[in-house]
Symmetry: none
Subunit: 207 residues, 4 copies
């Protein structure tokens, strides 16, 4: 029991150390970018020795991958729980709620946004694969929602794949430019409403 306690406490200390290094790395990567960040920067920010870093992570790439996985998981959970079965809340309502949650999640974590939109592309094949998988998941989700809407008569005839990509892209660009580049002082609810209206009704006046 003494051993268990010691082991458990050690385990907790390890986890805490990991988290400390991860947090510091998130901040530094977001601030400087992946290639401009050296392992020296990471260990200085984390307040640990170089060797300690490699005790917890295999490489500079590995910690970035782990950060990215965390970000994508967090974002993914934000958009989960949507219900496309009959009897569920109407799709537009669900979309708006999800959109709002996503914007909030991104807005709450500027570092996450910076990494996602400014650093995570073209780093290496593994990262590209993960990002592609994530966005593919989003695309499929949106496309399924559109096709469900078509069956229910809400959504017009269209190439749902292209439309899903267009919708995804509209959100990404607005997020990247409004939340990341801009001050982030925008009213998230208003942005979500604008985005939803844009994607639902387009820009022309009602015919």
């Amino acid at each position: 029991m003494s051993t268990d306690g010691r082991t458990r406490r050690a385990q907790e200390a390890r986890e805490q150390r990991r988290g400390q290094i991860l947090d510091a790395a998130l901040a530094v990567f977001a601030e400087q970018g992946y290639h401009q960040t050296s392992v020296t920067d990471l260990v200085k920010a984390a307040g640990v020795a170089r060797g300690t870093f490699y005790l917890y992570f295999d490489s500079k790439a590995a910690i970035f991958h782990e950060l990215l996985d965390g970000l994508l998981t967090e974002l993914g959970e934000t958009i989960q729980g949507v219900d496309t079965r009959e009897g569920a809340p109407p799709i537009p309502t669900q979309l708006e709620a999800t959109l709002h949650r996503v914007l909030r999640a991104l807005s709450d974590n500027e570092a996450l946004c910076r990494i996602l939109f400014r650093e995570a592309v073209g780093l290496d094949e593994e990262v590209d694969r993960k990002l592609r998988a994530f966005y593919e998941h989003l695309r499929a989700y949106i496309q399924a929602a559109l096709e469900n809407g078509q069956r229910m008569g809400f959504i017009r005839e269209m190439n749902t794949r292209t439309a899903a990509l267009a919708g995804l892209g509209s959100v990404k660009e607005v997020v990247a430019r409004t939340l990341v580049d801009g001050g982030g002082e925008e009213d998230l609810r208003a942005v979500a409403a604008e985005l939803l209206a844009y994607n639902l009704r387009g820009v022309v006046v009602r015919g």
Copy 2:
């Protein structure tokens, strides 16, 4: 005149050499990414010696900047010539034509797309500045078109900045995923039409 001829021929040879190195660099950067590409890769691909490379370009960064400038100029010219004065062709028609030209330009140069969408963000401040300026130019163009449409009664009330970003993002994502990732065998005209419809009318059935 013999001297002129020799000088001219030498000049042409130089231009050709430059082009040869630029072309090779475009391909290699698109294939491997900026950071994964060494000057050794570039000179091997171009079939010249290391010194020759530096005879024509100041640095690895310099040739990338030059490529990027070329790409942005080419794309920029594609979207020029839109006329928002009264009496000009209707905005939707102009938009569709421009969209089609842009898609064609991008489709004609896959390497260009790869660099633009996968490498050109977060490399250095100069590149970031240029990209931001380019997309800002596009956003302003779209936004002006939307506001013009509002004055003419075609476009509904909205936050035109957010809408412009949304429209820009929808095009970028579709291009990136359909032309770059995908086979690129899609019918450009159909994609352009879908994109335009999406941005004009959204996804819901006409009310």
Copy 3:
């Protein structure tokens, strides 16, 4: 206290490493000259890896500057402590003692001499500045001694600046040719005496 001991021992190890690299560099620079010496030569001679070199010194130029500073400081200290106040030992005696100390210091370190007389001119502006300052200091010291001697009636009327330079040059040349080029087997005391006699009385027989 165990930590202190460990830290102190590590500190000492670092100092030792630095010294090891400095010593090797002194030998190599003296043997081959600055420009003929590559960082590869330095690390091979020191028996460390390339990276280790840059752990202790910023650049090839930096380690040379540090060596030069050390040499000039050592030499400078050798000629300090001369007393020109009344009541002090007579100037000739002080001069001979200083001369002897300088010759000994130089003779004890052939590498020092080689660098000082064969490498340290025209390398870069920093080095030139330091050398000039050093020799200017020597010139001023000699000139002051001469002028003091004039006031005391020992030294004849003359342009003391020119004379100081001449005296300095006579020492430099004899040192360079007798200690550096030659075997260095000469009797330092005899050389010092000859040099002093030369500078005090010249070459002609007493009138």
Copy 4:
């Protein structure tokens, strides 16, 4: 005869070209120093193509060697013609005249001085060998004069080798500091007289 004329004219053109490149190189080497001067600098200053340079000189080192040879020859001739036979002008007079000629020659050619005193040491073994031979020649000349003077009863007992070196060094230092570093506006005759007095009589008042 036409062939001879053509050949001769061509020969003269070659010589002229050589001289043009040599002159330019002297100026550039004196201005920037050997290592700071690239072949590009040399051909730009000479106004010829890179290939042309190698038509006339084997290498960058070769042209420096040739320049140095010229400088040393010119200086050597300046101090030739001294007559140590009986019946010739007295040694001091000859020495002063030679000293004056040397100072004038050096003063007339600042570039020569700069190269001789700031660049020509430690460049390579060949250069070192030549410089050593030159100064050895000077030393031997001075030493012979001193020994002749001893035989004639003008020069006191001394180690003539050390004295010759001391005398040589006094001239070198004064030249280097007064003519090269300084403005060169000094009165050459006065400097020559001071130097001669220094070397003949030393610094002490006449006993």
